[in-house]
Symmetry: C2
Subunit: 334 residues, 2 copies
């Protein structure tokens, strides 16, 4: 089968690429060709027996979507997005990529006409939900985004569901939890501290905590995120009916829960590297974010995630740190 | 103030035009100019002291939206739509008008930049909801459209909410109940019989009932629909926050309730003009439609509708039949 990943240069895209090449197959079939696209050209890793190609492609540019699906890929992962902060600052850019780019992709697929009905896995986000909401959000709770990013993702979901209902494609929209622990350097995203207060101390480095410890949020590891995408590519979509967007399993954890897990995995010294420094702006943004879900549909459909925060930290240690915990080995200084 | 009605030639658009001209004002202010647009040129009624103009305008054509809002109307009613059946048959046409047309309008408004923030009243529909849903749908229940029309209306709502949250316009999206009794000739819409089984017998004419009497649905009169639009133009939108779409009050009635009300208002002879003739296709479509709502937000915000089906029939007799009930006067034959 032929597979296309749009947005392949991002953190999840790279891990998904690795997983597909490692498995050599997808949805029980051998992968013959994997094409990687992103606004900057992704790296095309060598893989025996799989033709891996990569290109720089602007989904908002006329003709890009049609070119990307010209070879009728069997599975299309659409991960490309202008992220939350940027889409809020630049409405035109967010609309161009997140809405028009997604629309262009879906229109390019249906332009092939009957006989072509690829599996489309679209990454949405829990950002489609905005307060007020219950402490635990059920599957049938109405999204009401408080960001343009969330609004644009929600519109993408609706198009994926409607085009799937019409048999023009076979889509699944995944409302990803906040991904934690994000590897790499600290960034300026309002959610960045959720990863930073674990990632830096594990390395023996200091981290700042801008909110109270009772702040509760909904998390899954990068490993689980890749697992969601692979499962969405392989699953029987029949039971989804016309409702193609799924709230996904995750771990509901307070910052206090995160820190307690850090201490269990990496010791007291790691925890002491976290310095509380209240940031009212971050605190206010985070207060509008979902705290927990009851993702019954996704669980029934076989999606799985970590069961507690210890497992999320352990996944990071295994996948990013080669099984070592630098702070336990005396890394960093005080 | 200046008022623009897009989609002014339709049944609701014409009644809204009449109501604004009769009142001479809107939202407590005098109306100086009223511009009417539709894909076919609406009639521009004479009205002393109000400059009423009309034009044929295709919202999907480049430049149309910008031209319509060039004069910075204070209130914009956006009623234009490709309706349910047609949007299902012709996906491109539905997307062009219901999605791209709405987007073009909202983009044209924000192109004026800061200082222009008109009230935008957007007619959505209970078609944003699709089964499965509870018998009585609460305000925070997730929409999941089963038609492309419902999907496109839902996308319009999301854009109206996001652009309102950003202060680019001041929008309200109204999820209209099924409008009953629709005046005029019978039409081919699947919902047509809900009006037909009342409208024709009131005239002494026969009507066909294609579903069982226990089918329950959610209704408001054309008079209430106009009332919703006028209230949405005048209301304080502060309490809406970023959630600009409203489920509206209406009457939850079974076909049996409708017929019982008809008998109370128009007598036994009217009811005898209804001939049951089961249509499995219509019955299946209607089975996927909402049955009742608990529209608490809209009620708290001052929206009102009829309390029972007798009132809906009476509104039709007053507004369309000059207060007369032809079947009671011996109209029609048996």
């Amino acid at each position: 089968m032929n597979v296309l990943i749009i947005g392949a240069a991002g953190m999840i895209g790279r891990k998904l690429t690795e997983a597909i090449l490692r498995d050599g197959g997808l949805a029980g079939r051998k992968v013959a060709a994997l094409h990687l696209a992103d606004v900057v050209a992704p790296t095309a890793p060598d893989a025996p027996g799989i033709a891996v190609t990569a290109e720089a492609a602007d989904l908002a540019a006329p003709g890009t979507a049609a070119r990307l699906v010209a070879g009728k890929p069997d599975v299309i992962f659409h991960l490309a997005a202008i992220v939350s902060g940027q889409a809020e600052v630049d409405l035109d850019l967010g609309l161009a990529i997140n809405l028009d780019g997604t629309r262009a992709l879906l229109d390019a697929i249906r332009a092939h006409g009957p006989g072509y009905c690829p599996r489309v896995v679209f990454t949405s986000s829990i950002a489609v939900f905005g307060a007020p909401f219950p402490e635990v959000i059920p599957d049938d709770f109405a999204p009401s985004p408080r960001t343009s990013y969330g609004a644009q993702k929600l519109i993408g979901e609706i198009l994926v569901s409607d085009f799937s209902r019409r048999g023009l494609l076979d889509g699944v929209s995944l409302r990803l939890p906040t991904i934690c622990i994000r590897p790499g350097a600290p960034n300026a995203a309002a959610s960045g501290f959720f990863s930073g207060i674990l990632r830096e101390p594990l390395q023996g480095l200091p981290a700042v905590l801008p909110v109270e410890r009772d702040v509760r949020h909904w998390f899954a590891s990068p490993r689980s995120a890749v697992g969601f995408l692979l499962h969405a590519a392989a699953m029987d979509t029949g039971p989804l009916g016309h409702r193609r967007a799924l709230n996904l399993p995750g771990v509901a954890a307070t910052v206090g829960d995160q820190i307690a897990a850090l201490e269990r995995v990496a010791g007291r010294r790691a925890v002491e590297l976290i310095r509380p420094e209240h940031d009212p702006m971050v605190a206010e943004i985070v207060a509008g974010w979902p705290r927990a879900f009851a993702p019954e549909r996704a669980l029934a459909l076989g999606f799985t995630a970590e069961r507690d925060f210890d497992a999320i930290i352990t996944a990071h240690v295994e996948d990013e740190l080669g099984g070592r915990i630098p702070v336990l080995e005396g890394a960093g200084g005080t």
